[in-house]
Symmetry: C2
Subunit: 243 residues, 2 copies
């Protein structure tokens, strides 16, 4: 960052808290700079009490929209000029909050779709490991359609027994080699269905699945979101991903 910026990054987090810490570490690692003072001012609202997004989307729990609006208000009042939400499933609620936040939201899923689209015309199929909420809400499907990329998903058993089991293990802090084995098996099945890249479409997944456990590029939406924020601040304008 050569010139000082007046931008302040607002991170609407806590979904879950470990993923928020991980996202902020990735944002710091992505920011070029040799001293503290080169880094971006950031305010993080990490509210782990936000009701579970997947349960809400499946009709099993309260709507998290009021919590998301409240967190966005805190970030705006703290001086944030742009909002990032490092939780894939929460993006299902972005259309409900976008008009009320009063700040641009850099859309993580939109940025991932753009990134996959930029990988070239050879990339026609991507696989998705995500919460059942994200899968059912069709978030990635909608965005990848715009770039002509086909999406492949785990079957119902793999989604329940492998992907969701692994995500819950990471959320509880009790993840280990078994978690990695569950996720790499699920990824392998997506590759067998033609996936040329696998999206780690829940911020918990990269914590349990190292890149080298997958034979195709593993796309970490948190890294893509961090790069989009840095790019936005550097150029002084949205990359087009803000809603």
């Amino acid at each position: 960052m050569s010139a000082p910026t007046t931008e302040i990054i607002g991170i609407l987090g806590g979904m879950g808290p470990a993923a928020t810490a991980d996202f902020y570490a990735k944002l710091v690692a992505t920011t070029p700079g040799a001293s503290d003072q080169d880094h971006l001012r950031t305010v993080i609202w990490s509210d782990p009490t936000i009701p579970d997004r997947t349960q809400a989307l499946l009709g099993d729990g309260p709507d998290p929209t009021p919590w998301l609006l409240d967190g966005s208000r805190v970030l705006r009042e703290a001086g944030a000029t742009v909002i990032a939400i490092p939780c894939n499933t929460a993006h299902a609620f972005v259309p409900r909050i976008a008009d009320h936040v009063g700040l641009p939201i850099v859309h993580m899923i939109g940025e991932v779709a753009r990134h996959l689209g930029a990988m070239g015309p050879g990339l026609r199929t991507a696989g998705l490991l995500a919460t059942t909420g994200t899968v059912r809400a069709g978030l990635y499907q909608d965005w990848l359609d715009r770039f002509g990329i086909r999406l492949v998903l785990p079957d119902a058993a793999g989604q329940d027994e492998e992907v969701m089991t692994a995500i819950r293990a990471v959320k509880s802090g009790a993840y280990d080699d078994t978690t990695t084995a569950l996720l790499s098996r699920a990824a392998q099945r997506l590759i067998e269905q033609g996936a040329q890249a696998v999206i780690a479409g829940c911020t918990e997944i990269p914590l349990g699945l190292p890149e080298d456990a997958v034979d195709v590029p593993l796309i970490d939406p948190a890294v893509i979101l961090a790069r989009a924020l840095v790019q936005r601040v550097r150029t002084g304008a949205a990359t087009g991903g803000a809603v």
Copy 2:
């Protein structure tokens, strides 16, 4: 966390930003709980533009006090009920801000001294790896004196060429085995001077010095601070470390 809490942790961070991300990850890891909703609401103000604390203490740069007061105000207005500052050197400025913050500050260095004191009467000497600012300000010396613990420090050359070189490497993101070698050599000299425990007294140091690179207990003030915060929230009261 069995009962819901109304406490909101405020983290005054950005000094540096990587250490802030690391501290928040440690706070999450320290918090017992199986689901997101068991974790603590947290607001983080990470302002890497806060002037360098060591330079200010050495008379070479602007006083960071106004930035610290401003960040504390942001945290208070965001609803924080207690403040934690995961930067050792910044604690030199706590006496200047404590009366104006309007919230209790859980004092990281006080908590480390208490922790060392609780390690038993056999622990009489501790070593310190910290910034030149922290060393010169006498922060650990003052607190350890209260517990009858002697502090040993690197000599001037070791402080400049080993400790500060390593801290700057971590801040720039360019740390590697050389960084670890510098820090473990400095730690070894403290042990030769009688240190029965070594304090990783700059939040950057644990990122460059793994515990197993030191032959005596390596005390990570960030972990001690995280535990003190969790303890405070659980018992609904300060442990005595708040100022």
